[in-house]
């Protein structure tokens, strides 16, 4: 056999791929679309690391680290003042900065050509659109500045990012790091922390393997579209003298043609998808098309491996087919599938993962190759075991109604086709179950339950310097959707006017507000209380301060400097009243338990309001739409630097959340892809059986019977596939959890949800294939002329 013969046979295969008129083109197009979708997804995956890197670089380049180490920076030629005024709007995060240029050489923020003047702002294109739309009316009220510029791509991390820079001329007066600070450059002074959490690295690795594996399965399925028709054509070639190897090479050529066309389509899909990606935002993350540049090496690998895989898959599948000249091409009874080698794959996978069990997170150096290989083998094990499971189970299924019988017999005769159809779903679900388990298992390490009591307040507002707490409380009370306002101002009292040796907290509020932080015996304006019951140390500090006060004529000092205010206010003296009432401390809505003294406004010495900083807790009416937005707007109207906070019960680690989001985005894309593949396979099978379906309908078979039979044909292998996916997923999840040293706990809702997603995809595919099925079942299908 020489190369010439090989190339001649392959070329003939390529010709056959597109020959055969409409039917031939239809088949080639199906294969190409299938392979193309897979290739596009693979290219997208190879582009993700680059996209993440560019996003990260842009984020670092615009960073304005406002933490001041050592002495505060003095105004100079290069300095500017920046205030972090990020704000949420209807669930989206808006990056906001207020900036004031001080020196002529102060750097301009990335993406801008000049500083916005006071009262003006530069916005990202997405924010500009939002502000111009009816959806942005409330936000427009919050950002009343005139839009004079657009932030360029270099200043943004994604096309849909909401961001703005507002100009100011009096920020310097409010410097209060880290919220408002004077700095002289953008960007991080240090290289970003390269030490990554081994558990998160493991998760990223597994997410990639688990998401890419079904794509591979899908590509393998796509090159087999139209297989039965191809086998008949090959039989005809045998009739005219081709030998067994020749027809195999011709078949390989056919598959290669489809795969090559698919490769071209895939690049096209990727380029279209790349452009579309610039207009979309998924789970709060967007990118610019320019970010999505596949790594050249990985892209080249895709270009080589996909056609090669197409050829190999074709040759592999032709193993079980006897192509004879007289058209009977498939062995009447295929050899019984063997279990032993199929079991070897998952066992080998487990063996690869075993050495890493118990390494935990303590410096856990997971071997990336073993992890990738182990997970791959376990998942490939699903695709190897599933045909055996389907064959074994359907071989034992008994008789039933006609629809059931037709389905079971069909599955018994070609269980491999059915198993292939659901392989992708099974692998995706197995992987998703495992990851869900791991996420649930390690979630506690990456999430923190807060002490907030959401039944008492859902928002809090820190009142900045220079703003009167009662003004804020009044404005909030008048805000739509606010049910209750609790305002407390906190400061420190000391035994001396400077460098006090004894200090204690002082909290000021109305009787109603003070009742939110203490149990009061009775309360009138002008009352003061000593708090007890927070913790013994705080209580003893308060007692010591009281003793110290006795020595100085019961005088204590309230100094704004005690609470960090370096600009405002003067020292105030407070004479501790005789017969100071006692009050029992209680947790405020954020779980903080105060000690020291409680003062009603009437008890606070004149001029001492600058020595305390206010916080306002708000109870929100959940029935009022946009209530939180109204609150934020009220706050910003009082002071643009005021940032109300929505209280939550749980705080999550950002990186952990990103990986989880990545999993959901990827899983959604993969399931959609597999759903498309299932639909194409289903339609192809129905087309193959068009004549038979028509004949069955001609002699009176009810359409319901045939539809039900098609449903059973999908439901039985899917049920088995999901069962196997459950077993493998739980096994993999258990192993991964043991690797990271977490307690093994099955997240049943997660397992059910993932299985449900898989089942939903199949149900959707079955429903979508019903209209064409009904069309194919018309008895007119008997007509051939």
């Amino acid at each position: 056999m020489n190369a010439r013969q090989w190339s001649r046979d392959l070329a003939m295969g390529v010709r056959f791929a597109f020959a055969g008129g409409r039917e031939g083109w239809f088949r080639a197009t199906l294969t190409a679309i299938g392979v193309g979708l897979g290739v596009a997804l693979l290219l997208l995956t190879t582009a993700i690391p680059n996209a993440l890197a560019v996003r990260h670089q842009r984020d670092v380049a615009r960073a304005d680290y406002t933490y001041v180490f050592g002495h505060p920076m003095k105004a100079g030629e290069k300095t500017f003042v920046v205030a972090d005024i990020d704000t949420p709007y209807r669930g989206a995060d808006i990056r906001g900065r207020m900036i004031q240029r001080e020196g002529a050489q102060a750097p301009v923020p990335p993406g801008l050509t000049k500083y916005p003047a006071p009262g003006e702002m530069a916005v990202s294109p997405a924010l500009k659109r939002l502000l111009g739309s009816s959806d942005g009316t409330l936000l427009r009220a919050r950002l009343p500045y005139r839009i004079t510029a657009t932030i360029a791509e270099s200043g943004l991390t994604g096309s849909q990012e909401l961001a703005y820079y507002a100009g100011s001329d009096n920020l310097a007066a409010h410097i209060d790091p880290p919220n408002v600070a004077r700095i002289d450059h953008f960007g991080s002074p240090r290289s970003p922390d390269s030490e990554s959490d081994p558990v998160l690295t493991l998760l990223v690795l597994v997410v990639f393997v688990i998401l890419l594996m079904p794509v591979g399965v899908f590509v393998a399925a796509a090159v087999r579209f139209g297989g039965e028709r191809r086998d008949r054509r090959l039989a005809a070639l045998r009739l005219v003298g081709s030998d067994g190897w020749m027809v195999r090479r011709i078949a390989a050529g056919e598959a290669m043609a489809g795969a090559l066309l698919g490769l071209v389509l895939g690049v096209g899909f990727f380029l279209i998808g790349r452009q579309l990606a610039g207009t979309a935002e998924v789970f709060g993350t967007s990118v610019f098309p320019s970010y999505l540049n596949p790594s050249p090496v990985l892209a080249a690998l895709v270009a080589v491996l996909v056609p090669a895989a197409a050829v190999l898959v074709t040759l592999f599948t032709l193993r079980g087919v006897v192509i004879e000249p007289l058209g009977v091409v498939r062995t009447a009874k295929p050899a019984r599938r063997r279990l032993w080698w199929r079991l070897l794959l998952p066992v080998a996978g487990l063996a690869a993962l075993y050495p890493m069990i118990g390494q935990g997170r303590g410096g856990g150096n997971f071997n990336q190759y073993l992890v990738t290989g182990g997970v791959l083998l376990l998942l490939v094990g699903v695709t190897a075991l599933l045909p055996w499971v389907v064959e074994t189970v359907v071989g034992r299924l008994g008789e039933g109604a006609v629809a059931w019988q037709l389905a079971v017999r069909r599955l018994q005769l070609s269980s491999g086709t059915a198993a292939r159809m659901v392989n992708g779903i099974a692998v995706a679900v197995a992987g998703a179950i495992a990851l869900q388990m791991v996420f649930a298992g390690v979630e506690a390490d990456y999430t923190k339950r807060t002490t907030n009591d959401l039944t008492r307040a859902q928002m809090s507002v820190q009142v900045p310097d220079g703003v009167q707490v009662p003004d804020v409380a009044k404005a909030m009370t008048a805000t739509k959707g606010v049910l209750k306002v609790v305002s407390i101002a906190d400061g420190q009292a000391g035994d001396k006017d400077k460098d006090p040796s004894q200090t204690a907290s002082v909290s000021v509020g109305s009787c109603a507000s003070l009742r939110e932080i203490a149990t009061l015996p009775s309360c009138h304006d002008g009352d003061a209380f000593a708090l007890k019951g927070s913790d013994s140390e705080t209580d003893s500090e308060t007692a010591k301060l009281l003793t110290a006060a006795e020595k100085h004529g019961r005088t204590l000092y309230l100094n704004p400097a005690y609470v960090g205010d370096i600009h405002h206010g003067a020292l105030s003296r407070w004479t501790v009243p005789t017969g100071l009432k006692q009050a029992e401390s209680r947790k405020d809505p954020t779980g903080y338990e105060r000690g020291g003294f409680l003062l009603t406004p009437g008890a606070l010495p004149r001029g001492a309001s600058t020595a305390v900083q206010g916080v306002v807790y708000l109870s929100i009416d959940s029935g009022v739409r946009d209530a939180t937005e109204y609150v934020i707007n009220t706050a910003v109207r009082i002071d643009p630097l005021m940032q109300p906070e929505t209280l939550t019960s749980v705080e999550r680690d950002g990186q952990f959340e990103s990986i989880r989001t990545g999993l959901f985005v990827g899983a959604a894309a993969v399931l959609a892809l597999i759903g498309a593949s299932l639909l194409v396979s289903q339609l192809e099978q129905l087309r193959e059986r068009k004549k038979l379906l028509s004949a069955l309908v001609a002699f009176g078979t009810r359409r319901r019977t045939l539809s039900l039979s098609v449903l059973w044909q999908t439901a039985i292998p899917i049920g088995l596939g999901l069962l196997l996916a459950g077993v493998v997923g739980l096994t993999l999840g258990t192993v991964l959890l043991k690797m990271v040293g977490s307690t093994v706990r099955v997240d049943w809702p997660g397992v059910l949800a993932m299985t449900g997603f898989g089942a939903a995809v199949v149900l959707a595919v079955t429903l979508l294939s019903l209209p064409p099925l009904l069309r194919l079942m018309r008895p007119e299908g008997l007509r051939t002329e």
Binding site: A332, R409, A698, G700, T701, P779
Partner: protein, 229 residues
């Protein structure tokens, strides 16, 4: 329509087009119980379309078909399906046997569709297979039997419900002459034994020789040759 006296199935002025192609253009037809009528004509003449119309598989654009005194145009799809299931039998040239079912299951299928229990249906199926001399193929699948055997299985399946009309579209088209003749002998014998009418589409004169009467279809028009055997 005035159906010919005593006819079981009759059609008049049938017209059917597929796009620009006129398949039937005023075709007429009638058949009595127990009668074997051959529809003859060259390829594309409209004979299969006529058979499909008569069997209620295809609805004609115009004209009338009366079966057992009932106008078929007044029947809905479900009624026509029920009619095909219980009153009619079908044999096609190929592609009618369900490849994944065994031969006996294939033959029993129409009975099972009518609600007969599996055991009962398969017992009746085996009786018919015996009459068509293929009872030894019961447990084999269609892919494992020869073309002639498969066609006899198909005839058994068509007759298993004891239909009043058997429609056979080129039943021997894919068989050699020896096998074809054997199939025709068995088919007509079995049909006559149950007094079933047979509508036989063929373009072969030796197959048409098994009929009592020939109707030639050409360019969508029919011509009754009134040939008695």
């Amino acid at each position: 329509m005035n159906a010919p006296a005593g006819s079981l199935l009759a059609a008049e002025a049938l017209r059917k087009t597929y796009g620009p192609t006129v398949a039937l253009d005023g075709a007429e037809f009638s058949i009595h119980a127990g009668e074997v009528v051959a529809l003859m004509g060259p390829s594309g003449s409209g004979k299969s379309t006529l058979l499909h119309c008569l069997a209620g598989i295809v609805t004609p654009d115009a004209g009338s078909i009366v079966y057992a005194g009932r106008e078929m145009a007044t029947m809905n799809d479900a009624e026509r399906s029920a009619l095909r299931r219980s009153e009619f039998g079908f044999v096609f040239q190929f592609g009618q046997l369900v490849p994944e079912l065994t031969c006996v299951e294939n033959v029993a299928l129409p009975l099972r569709l009518n609600g007969t229990s599996r055991k009962e249906a398969e017992r009746t199926a085996l009786d018919w297979m015996q009459r068509l001399e293929v009872d030894d193929l019961g447990r084999k699948r269609p892919g494992e039997v020869s073309g002639g055997q498969g066609q006899r299985v198909a005839v058994a399946r068509a007759l298993v419900t004891s239909p009043r009309v058997l429609f056979a579209d080129e039943p021997t088209g894919a068989l050699d002459s020896l096998n074809g003749e054997r199939v025709m002998e068995l088919l007509t014998e079995a049909a006559r034994s149950t007094n079933a009418a047979v509508v036989l589409v063929t373009h072969e004169a030796r197959v048409a020789a098994y009929s009592d009467r020939e109707i030639v279809v050409r360019d969508g028009k029919s011509r009754d040759m009134e040939r008695a055997v």
